[in-house]
Assembly symmetry: D2
């Protein structure tokens, strides 16, 4: 059977992560994220992002994190701006609205929100009969695998400052974003420009877990109350704490992401002559446009996801992960080469 | 340093559970709980509780589970009945109210809701200016370590049937309840009498995880949508699926609980002459009443939790777990014996 | 000073409505909508719409009604489909999202949702990671003054039946819709095709009040609980009851709406040669496109609302009401004639 | 037929209030509470309560007001303290919980919350697993007709200041409270001691309407957004504005309340020898304890409400209003005298 290229959360966890858990198996730890592993992981993450006055919390998954953070930042009449393609708008079954807040969408470009989008949205919502934009939701990497540039982030920060908005970055795939080819955003920039962001573990080699980072601990003052209110406080918070501690202790976090990008780049390079790419992903997601029949075969053979389709063609998503090896990619690359040969 | 008796979620997981994860480390699994481990775990659990037409879902923690299930079962004007001491009423930072529903409290006895409590609450809320009771929340074991009898559960079921209410059992400590001394409730009874219940993993030897069981799959029709809406759907659902598969494949689930009860019983037996117990716990929680000074020492030396206090005395909670060994208990027992000697 | 053409809720109430209140001033009535006036008004309305098995409730305003009805019809993971221009999407400060539900928007045409929009939305939201469409929100007249045809409504009903959706009509301006030129929808059709609709009083001659009508009383079984939960149950429910009783006892309701339409038609007819209309309103709202300077003058002199603007032009809204008299319109008409003369 | 003593919201409105509406019938007013009447009413109310820097908003009813204000003041993990007998806890169908917040109850005395209750509740909710008390809800007059003393209010204010809590007074019956015999609380005290309170119109001579008063306009900065989000913003806000303007222009507001108290006092005085009072009401509600048969007769003949009952006796509530005349009371008084005579 071929290796699956369905997504980046098909495997349990990186061997080093599992080993860390095994090594700690005899410990007894304090509950609810107040243990030594969580404390140390927090320190390592704050150091990495250059924000010693920040605060870190470990939650379990992306939708949970988005809804928990956004409902913490907003009052009932406030809304969050998002790209129409944003995960919170499309793929979270109305979780943010479920906390009582409108997701105010802009069309965006390449899955990204621009400074102009923010300005327009604030101007549009002009009185008390309309929502008040209070937060800007972006994801990096985006849903379509693109990454923000340093200039784009700085411009968003300016717009947020001008209008008193929070800039919140969904970093479910922050690892692949920061280690992607051409990326010019550093960890320090993220720490400086975002009010809140998270460092994804579920899609980057851990059993589960997202590290929510507040740039300024003062903003997070009551966040533990809020986490509990949202049912998102793990009794055994030390499990996530330990995994993040391990991942940030020697660069493993970025190593795992690099492996995902490396194999994705390898695939991209290898099929470039035979495949039509959709969008501008530079991370571990590859979107290829195919005829319906070939799309169907690709999906069957490699468990890929159908991304979209129209009458004549389909876009299929290929995803690599920390666990993908170059050798695993060859069958997939072979598929595209074969396809090419059969063309008249 | 002494072993901690703080709670039953201080340790990572039972070695067999960890081994199962290691053994599966090279697998690729389908996401969101649709994997083979979760499917198999569901089958094992439904078999165990004797409800082949039921349905099982794996969530991450107790508060999350309570809020997710209850908000699924109720319409906005409906309320859940609970003991005043109920976890949802006291220790979840208003999570159920956070989903928009009143927790209607009754005083109860020994941490338990009675048939009469249900009848009275339904009669009291008599018109549209008051909430409509729609669900009855019970926990087994209760917050105070007691367990429901078969007769009590059957009576509650009758009251629920008469008034069209859902009976929901919080089973965060279901293992200790079902394996406790004197318990006369079987798994089959739970499956037959509760509309929804959960089988706790976090407090019984797993890294995390609660298995929510619907007696009738039809009631669960849209529960996956609801889980996602609440941010409670794990991308790597197979992690919990695998742990429950392992725990229910050869009785390990109940073995772990028995170990917790066994050591608690050992402690109870050993200190019976020297300690004043509070309440009627027969499970892995022991509540002892002490002078303030001794309570403080016990807390310091064994990391116990202060449960309550008044001017002259304090109640301290001692908790054992799957990982507690009899030898671990001897220092604790010694504490009580020493205390006795110092008495004039 | 000129008469204002700001909106249709600038005046207190029709003299006959006020007289009815005065005539009843010495009465004592049962509270919470259980009085004889409300009961009689319900009967009159159900007769008018041909649904003897329906049920009527009197609320206070439009946003309140939309949020109360929609949150009654939906479970947390369900969403309501609306035109992007829909009142619930734009002008209610996120009230529907405030009840926890996504407003899923389609672009629509002329402010109207089509059968195809419904089909596409249902198909798009294909799994549990996306919301479940459960209700279709339409307004008649729409935000832009257009009305649904009988064929359009029947087609929507079919789509709703096919997918198990509720069809909910916002009738804040139902009077003007049903009495507008070219309208081919009867009251009986509304009663037959909509699961829930409301008959607007606030924008049609009453002090306040919207009559929510359920086609089938069974669906409304717990609606009184829900109204109270939403803070929408008036202690003096008989005030609205009496106003609707009066309005539906001799055709006054439709007379008031006709007067609004009549004067709007008069204006439209009179300025047709001099004004550029935007959209296809046939009801009591007129949208005219003007140069920026003239738009500004029109707004100043007649308290009209600026609807939208771009660099060179602006759309201004002119609204008539039950209280507008033809003579009141002449100054407004004069404004357009004067404008014309000044053109080179 | 006898006059009803069911409640204080059985009549439409005081003749002077209705006259004010009639006199304004030809006006056109700005919508949404931005009209001249509302502005003037705000000024009159702020003058009356001695808080020139405050801000006033006109809502429609009590439950709506409680839920709207409390959800404005609190974050998701915060709770409001209330007496167990508080209206928000018993008679609002979970409206406050419907906004996502726990109502944390204390038993209180005479329907009143004490400084000690506040201190205990804050101390009890000691960590992030429990709600955070943020607001104290009191009603004056209370549900049982009692009133707060100046000393009690000052003590509550102190406790609130010590713990950063908002003091919110439900003034649905503020008129009767401030004009009751023995009351020592002035309007100025209310304005000074409460962060937010409301001045009830529905239960004091108006068609509907509650005037929400913020002591400090800064706290109300986004309240108009919030009102709209909650569906509580009336398009014809000027109706309530005008009624409050009239009521506060020459003391009519307090005159109406005095009339209710005057007739209640007259009844109390007249039946004192023949009736057993329950509780210590000094306002327009009278609670009398009767045998079951007599209670039933009283309810039948005067449309009184059954307040509570046990096996042998029942408590019946008698309520007077602005519209009750002394002559109306004589039949009721006669009922008690007759009853006395029939005693053996």
């Amino acid at each position: 059977m071929n290796r699956r290229f369905t997504n980046d959360y098909s495997e349990f966890a990186h061997p080093e992560i599992l080993k860390a858990i095994l090594d700690a198996a005899d410990e007894q730890n304090t509950g609810y994220g107040l243990d030594a592993h969580s404390v140390n992981a927090e320190k390592l993450i704050l150091d990495c992002f250059g924000i010693p006055d920040g605060k870190v919390f470990f939650l379990q998954g992306g939708t949970q994190t988005n809804a928990t953070v956004l409902s913490y930042l907003m009052r009932p009449y406030e809304a969050v701006l998002s790209c129409g393609t944003g995960h919170i708008n499309v793929h979270e079954t109305g979780a943010v609205e479920g906390t009582g807040h409108k997701v105010f969408t802009v069309s965006g470009t390449d899955g990204k929100v621009s400074r102009g989008d923010v300005e327009n949205a604030v101007a549009y919502n002009r009185d008390e009969h309309m929502v008040k934009i209070k937060a800007v939701y972006i994801s990096n990497a985006t849903e379509t695998g693109t990454v923000y540039t340093a200039a784009e982030l700085a411009a968003l920060r300016e717009a947020c400052d001008r209008h008193g908005l929070y800039l919140f970055m969904d970093g479910a795939r922050l690892g692949p974003a920061l280690t992607s080819k051409g990326n010019d955003v550093t960890c320090e920039m993220i720490g400086r420009l975002c009010d809140v962001f998270y460092v994804g573990g579920t899609k980057n080699g851990m059993l589960f877990g997202e590290a929510v980072v507040f740039r300024d601990a003062a903003l997070a003052e009551n966040f533990r109350h809020h986490i509990k209110n949202r049912g998102a406080m793990a009794a055994k918070g030390f499990v996530a704490g330990l995994m993040f501690e391990r991942a940030f202790s020697d660069g493993l976090y970025f190593e795992m992401a690099k492996q995902a990008n490396r194999t994705a780049d390898y695939i991209r390079r290898s099929i470039a002559g035979f495949a039509e790419f959709q969008g501008n992903s530079t991370t571990n997601q590859i979107f290829v446009k195919l005829g319906k029949k070939e799309a169907s075969e690709l999906i069957d053979e490699f468990s890929c996801e159908l991304w979209s389709e129209d009458e004549n063609s389909a876009v299929v998503r290929i995803v690599t992960s920390f666990a993908t090896k170059e050798a695993d990619c060859d069958a997939l690359i072979g598929f595209f080469r074969e396809k090419e040969k059969r063309q008249p």
